[in-house]
């Protein structure tokens, strides 16, 4: 596993260079927050990466839920489901483990 301390991070602990992201980095970032990534987490994280790659856009919380609903199904865009996966804030931590910038509302 890549040691996190060689990766440049911003003041919020997010990757400074998303080019340094890989799955091992995502797992290490989550582990640091005490979270073990499961396939359900990965589904959301990969969705975030694909969405960002295609649209160069970071949705806010409301749009995030809508976009997930549209792509992965209504049950997965709901707050209940997302908060169970990322208890400290789905938008913030899905972005963090996806190696993307911190969204404005999460600072």
């Amino acid at each position: 596993m890549l040691p996190l301390d060689v990766l440049a991070r911003d003041e919020y602990g997010f990757l400074a260079d998303s080019g340094q992201w890989n799955e091992a980095v995502a797992e290490a970032l989550a582990a640091e927050d005490g979270l073990q990534l499961t396939p359900a987490h990965w589904e959301i994280i990969q969705f975030m990466r694909a969405y960002y790659a295609e649209y160069q856009h970071q949705p806010n919380a409301r749009l995030f839920g809508q976009a997930i609903k549209k792509s992965l199904g209504a049950d997965k865009g709901g707050s209940l489901y997302l908060y169970r996966l990322f208890p400290d804030g789905p938008l913030k931590y899905a972005n963090k483990y996806a190696g993307l910038p911190i969204p404005p509302s999460c600072i």
Binding site: E11, Y12, N60, R62, P104, S105, I107
Partner: protein, 130 residues
């Protein structure tokens, strides 16, 4: 009638804040309700606490604060517009900068959801500037 207002331009650089303020005064006199004033784009600069215009000029920021104090009008600054331009919420300013927020009295920082609510609930939504 419920009227909501959106300000898109900075004070002093554009007349928008003046036009909106005079409009709001007239609307209140006519008995209308000002549902909310939403500050977007460079409009967020209307909420800078440390604005200190020369004494012989109108004080746009103080005028907004007074409007809130006297009429209870909800003054909302868009969070993402504000962060991009260097205006943070109190708790965020303390957390990331270790200083007090520069937000003037009577304003609050919130998300676009409050603009949506204003558009949906008010009878009219008027944009000023740029």
């Amino acid at each position: 009638m419920k009227i909501s207002i959106q300000i898109n331009a900075s004070p002093y650089q554009h007349q928008a804040a003046d036009s909106a303020w005079h409009f709001i005064q007239a609307a209140l006199v006519a008995g209308h309700q000002i549902y909310r004033v939403f500050f977007y784009h460079d409009g967020i600069y209307n909420a800078l606490r440390d604005s200190r215009p020369p004494g012989d000029e109108r004080d746009i920021v103080k005028r907004w604060s007074a409007l809130q104090a006297e009429h209870g009008i909800d003054l909302v600054v868009c969070v993402s517009s504000a962060q991009r331009r260097g205006l943070l919420e109190q708790s965020v300013a303390r957390k990331v900068g270790g200083y007090e927020a520069a937000l003037a009295d009577g304003f609050r920082i919130a998300g676009l959801g409050l603009l949506m609510e204003a558009i949906i609930d008010a009878d009219r939504h008027i944009c000023f500037g740029s």
